[in-house]
């Protein structure tokens, strides 16, 4: 199942494996609003209305449950289906689309009532490092203090009305094939065919996998889209098994790595939460608040102390709580979007942009550029001058006269960067594989790596602050910041191997650690990212292993290194049955070897090597020892895969169909129109189009979605700068169906202007059957599709699609709803200069209030 992704075009080389599977008889299904080259080589293309994936997946869940197609043994043993939920829990079915705990005033949920029955105050609201209206998803341990890793109340027959299995059944009962058709536009017959195919291909002998990309994540229900797939896959027994899983097809070379070792506000390396501000907090209470005692997060103190040792070295001691108070504290959402608003509003004054181009790549481009224009200083590091570096003299607002260079006070530093072949280091790819790149040539001129930049900037700042008595400078001066430099290169490039070794960590004798199970909470070990511990085992850069594929097994364990512990499939304990035997010979992966009394198989088993399948934890067991031998999901406090999420999400324990922020339709299932907890920015510079049921909805009658092309990369900095790729795909365009072209008078190859309340842009028109109109709630609905790669710089130039998109976010992870909005489209080019501003303003007036939706709270 490829859904929310166009794998053939955007991950073409990875897609060779899908084609290979198809040649061996696999069925490939592509669910996507557009018919793309992925659809062309799939067995089935299922056109879906953008933003209705939960209705589709919810329909699948209903099909699986109503027709008894679930993998019963797997579900009973490996998921939380039997667990009984608190009596106080009320499902969205009972309250028009809102779960219990909704607080209309704060626009957020109190998640207390979603807990497992028999557990006291497990949400501990306000205590965990998440929470409130601007809470974020917890990446770490959840599930509370379970004795022996067991939830207090279970019903193994799955019949108790409050057990997860029955709650699930009830929640999705109305997601019938007819409802799916009404909401998504997918015909009932086609929908049922997909369900049959997926179910037939799941069980002991077979597995089905899902692949997705930002077509799923960039929504106000982004996290719940993935959750819905997780429910399908857990019910069908497709997690932790070869050929199963839910695969995120990530779009940047190391976006996985930049989440593991985060450049993200809410986490520290290895998904340890950044601490929130609390009264009387120390390291011990921080760990207690955030880690369940059972499961691997039971060792969170060891991971955290080792990280603090890596950061502050000898300065971090037991006496000073390992410099825990050197860590800055969070008080809410400090993600990039509030920071951008802070730039517009003047409290965020400086900005480093390294290898990113928000002036083109981020939603509401005008807001992004106005933010840049109001900074004191901006540092842009890239290979070419991007639109983020040039906004002050050639941005769209300069053209319209809204900004003049002379009026922009931003001091801009553009620093040329070294390319991927001019420096060494590791990328973490989409399957958690760390792959090392060796340096081929030295960078020219002033080009430098970010490693060089950060190291030397750090040195400069530390020199300037040296001798400071100011307590706030202590954390900077205490930093362990001495990396050997490569003198041969002549530019004092820090040694990337030594940084990777610090990430791996070392023991008290300075030996590289073999893996995270060696980490201690007494300050005797140092480790910069616990999940990467082992990448430098035996003092060898394991990420640089390149044993040819032809000389090793199909799992290829000696090519590079996968976190954690070089496991290629995580939770692979689930590939064996509760007794430790493979579910089938055909799907054999890891299993219990009774003779050797240990786990073995094709991969590194994802369970303690000698933990017997019939292991039952003693009463005093903690961490991984508190998880039974037949529980594969060892990061969870109860060792199970969660069909129902009792804690850790801000917008509901079960995925529920809501319409996007902007949609021509009302919600056909609930009174609640859109995700009630979604994050919005109600400001004049971020207006929303009116949606179904609201006055003015007819002004923006079409659905808009954006996507990538094979020949271009994201905001274009790495592709519009190349002649070859620019020649292959030279011009911005939009795709419309012949029906829509006829309706509004668009000609193939001619120009169109696309308008939202944020902006109007122009594009060449491609009239194509690939975007078939869909019948939704009895009405024809039309999609306007467009790539978002263009901007004002590069070998080829064009208008930016992201200027059209507004900022509304998923409440768990603060990702923007980039993949669906509403728009108008008309023939011809857009107005130029000040006339463009007036043109958009006119649309706003016709659509009603400027700040559309101000009064649309949780009841919308």
């Amino acid at each position: 199942m490829d859904i929310g992704s166009n794998m053939a075009e955007n991950h073409p080389v990875g897609f060779q494996w899908v084609m290979e599977a198809r040649m061996r008889g696999a069925t490939v299904i592509h669910v996507d609003p557009r018919y793309t080259r992925t659809s062309a080589v799939s067995n089935m293309h299922v056109p879906i209305r953008a933003g209705t994936d939960i209705a589709f997946l919810g329909g699948m869940i209903n099909y699986i449950l109503e027709n008894d197609k679930y993998f019963e043994e797997y579900v009973k043993a490996y998921t939380n289906a039997p667990v009984i939920i608190s009596e106080e829990f009320r499902d969205a079915e009972d309250a028009g689309g809102l779960f219990s705990g909704w607080d209309p005033e704060s626009g957020s949920y109190d998640t207390e009532t979603w807990q497992y029955a028999g557990m006291e105050a497990q949400g501990a609201s306000g205590q965990r490092e998440q929470g409130g209206a601007t809470g974020e998803q917890a990446h770490y341990a959840q599930g509370g203090d379970l004795e022996q890793g067991m939830p207090p109340e279970r019903d193994e027959t799955l019949e108790h009305p409050r057990c997860v299995f029955q709650i699930l059944k009830k929640h999705y009962r109305r997601y019938t094939p007819e409802k799916v058709e009404e909401i998504t536009g997918i015909s009932r017959d086609l929908f049922l065919k997909v369900c049959e195919k997926v179910c037939e291909n799941s069980g002991r002998e077979r597995t089905t996998s899902f692949a997705y990309a930002v077509g799923w994540t960039q929504h106000t229900v982004g996290v719940q889209n993935i959750r819905a797939a997780a429910i399908v896959q857990l019910l069908l027994g497709n997690i932790g098994r070869p050929g199963g899983g839910i695969m995120a097809l990530r779009g940047h070379a190391s976006i996985q790595g930049s989440t593991d070792i985060p450049t993200l506000f809410n986490i520290l390396p290895g998904y340890i939460p950044m601490p929130h501000a609390h009264a009387h907090q120390n390291l011990t209470t921080f760990v207690e608040r955030n880690a369940a005692p059972s499961g691997y997060w039971g060792n969170m103190k060891a991971y955290t102390v080792s990280l603090l040792k890596a950061y502050w070295g000898e300065a971090a001691t037991a006496e000073n709580d390992y410099c825990f108070d050197h860590l800055p504290r969070l008080t809410g959402d400090h993600s990039i979007y509030p920071a951008i608003m802070g730039m517009v509003d003047g409290w965020c004054k400086g900005f480093f942009v390294m290898g990113q181009n928000p002036a083109v790549g981020a939603a509401n481009g005008k807001l992004q550029r106005l933010a840049l224009a109001n900074l004191d200083w901006l540092v842009v590091r890239d290979l070419v001058e991007t639109e983020t570096a040039s906004f002050w003299y050639d941005g769209p607002e300069i053209e319209t006269g809204e900004l003049r260079p002379e009026d922009i006070g931003t001091e801009v530093f553009f620093l040329p960067a070294a390319s991927h072949v001019e420096k060494e280091g590791s990328f973490t790819n989409t399957q958690r594989l760390l792959q090392w790149r060796n340096k081929a040539v030295e960078p020219e001129g002033d080009c430098r790596s970010e490693l060089w930049f950060m190291y030397h900037l750090g040195n400069k700042v530390r020199e300037k602050l040296a001798g400071s008595e100011d307590p706030k400078d202590r954390a900077v001066l205490d930093l362990a910041w001495d990396y050997p430099v490569d003198e041969e290169a002549g530019v004092d490039e820090p040694d990337a191997h030594s940084v990777l070794r610090e990430i791996n960590g070392w023991d008290a004798e300075n030996n590289a650690l073999p893996g995270y199970t060696s980490l201690k909470d007494d300050g005797s070990t140092s480790c910069g990212c616990w999940i990467y511990c082992g990448v430098y085992a035996d003092e060898v850069n394991q990420a640089n292993r390149r044993k040819p594929a032809s000389e090793q097994s199909w799992v290829a364990p000696e090519w590079a290194w996968a976190w954690p512990m070089n496991r290629r499939i995580i939770y692979n304990r689930a590939s064996a049955d509760p007794e430790g035997k493979p579910w089938s010979e055909r799907k054999k992966y890891v299993w219990w070897d009774e003779e050797q009394e240990q786990w073995t198989g094709h991969d590194v088993p994802d369970i303690q090597a000698t933990k017997r399948p019939d292991y039952v934890p003693p009463d005093d067991a903690t961490a991984e020892d508190a998880i039974r031998g037949d529980r594969p999901f060892i990061m969870q406090a109860d060792g199970t895969g969660w069909l129902y999420v009792p804690a850790g999400l801000t917008d509901g324990p079960l995925p529920t169909h809501y319409e996007p922020e902007e949609s021509p339709f009302e919600n056909a299932l609930y009174g609640q129109r859109a995700n009630p907890a979604r994050q919005r920015f109600l400001r004049d510079d971020n207006p929303y189009n009116p949606s179904g049921g609201q006055p003015g909805v007819e002004v923006f009658p079409y659905v808009l979605s954006t996507y990538r092309l094979t020949e271009h990369h994201t905001a274009g900095g790495m592709s519009r700068s190349t002649e070859h790729l620019s020649e292959l795909m030279p011009e911005m365009f939009c795709e419309v169906s012949p029906e829509l072209a006829e309706k509004v008078g668009l000609n193939n190859g001619g120009w169109a202007t696309i308008v939202t309340t944020r902006a109007a842009i122009e594009a060449r028109v491609l009239v194509t059957d690939r975007l078939a109109p869909l019948k939704v709630q009895g009405e024809e609905t039309y999609l306007v599709g467009m790539p978002y790669h263009w901007g004002s710089k590069g070998v080829v130039k064009g208008d930016s699609a992201n200027d059209l998109i507004g900022l509304s976010l998923d409440p768990n992870v603060h990702i923007g709803e980039y993949k669906v909005a509403t728009c108008d489209i008309r023939p011809g080019r857009r107005p130029r200069g000040p006339a463009l501003v007036e043109f958009v303003e006119d649309y706003r007036r016709r659509a009603g209030a400027r700040r559309v939706g101000v009064n649309e709270g949780g009841g919308s």
Binding site: V13, D407, F427, C529, S550, W559, T714
Partner: protein, 189 residues
């Protein structure tokens, strides 16, 4: 070439002698073509790398001659990509040698209409001064309830998904020590 070699070398002869009866391959090769060599053949060094575009992580072989990159090809050893590259990966030499690449620091003064040149070390020094100043002006030691904050919201960072793990590690480590928390990347975009 003597007559003994010349006649059998004629395409028609090669065609008749079998092996390539349709003259689509060897039989149609000219002597000039026989002497052609791929750019990769004369490389001083072949360096193993990874494609910088999407997250599939295809293996690359970077061919270097006289300190210059002459070609970037797929690495057949990779169990992920088996030697293949997509149009972007195949264009990565063109990317790193783009005519639009910048090799010098550029500086724009407030309210200026033009870029200026600036020495790299001076730029780094000026940036260090700006960071220290902004941090000082926007420092929050504790909130109104007396809770420890130890931070600045005065500056932000964006980027990282195209960078190396080691680079991201230093970015997070240094900025965290500076008390900056708005350290972000493409993951939310």
């Amino acid at each position: 070439m003597g007559i003994r070699d010349l006649i059998p070398s004629w395409p028609v002869m090669q065609q008749l002698r079998g092996g390539d009866r349709l003259a689509l391959g060897k039989a149609a090769r000219s002597s000039r073509q026989a002497e052609l060599k791929p750019r990769t053949a004369g490389a001083d060094e072949v360096v193993k790398s990874i494609c910088p575009y999407c997250a599939v992580g295809c293996g690359q072989r970077v061919y270097v001659k006289d300190g210059e990159i002459t070609q970037i090809e797929g690495d057949p050893d990779s169990p992920i990509s088996r030697g293949r590259l997509c149009p972007k990966g195949a264009a990565s030499r063109n990317f790193v040698q783009s005519p639009l690449r910048e090799y010098r620091v550029k500086y724009r003064r407030p309210h200026a209409t033009e870029w200026e040149e600036l020495d790299l070390d001076t730029a780094l020094d000026m940036i260090a001064d700006r960071v220290i100043k902004t941090r000082g002006e926007t420092w929050e030691d504790e909130d109104e309830e007396g809770r420890h904050l130890h931070r600045t919201l005065g500056f932000a960072h964006l980027g990282g998904a195209t960078l190396d793990n080691e680079e991201n590690y230093l970015i997070k480590k240094f900025f965290t020590a500076m008390g900056a928390i708005q350290i972000e990347n493409q993951a939310r975009i």
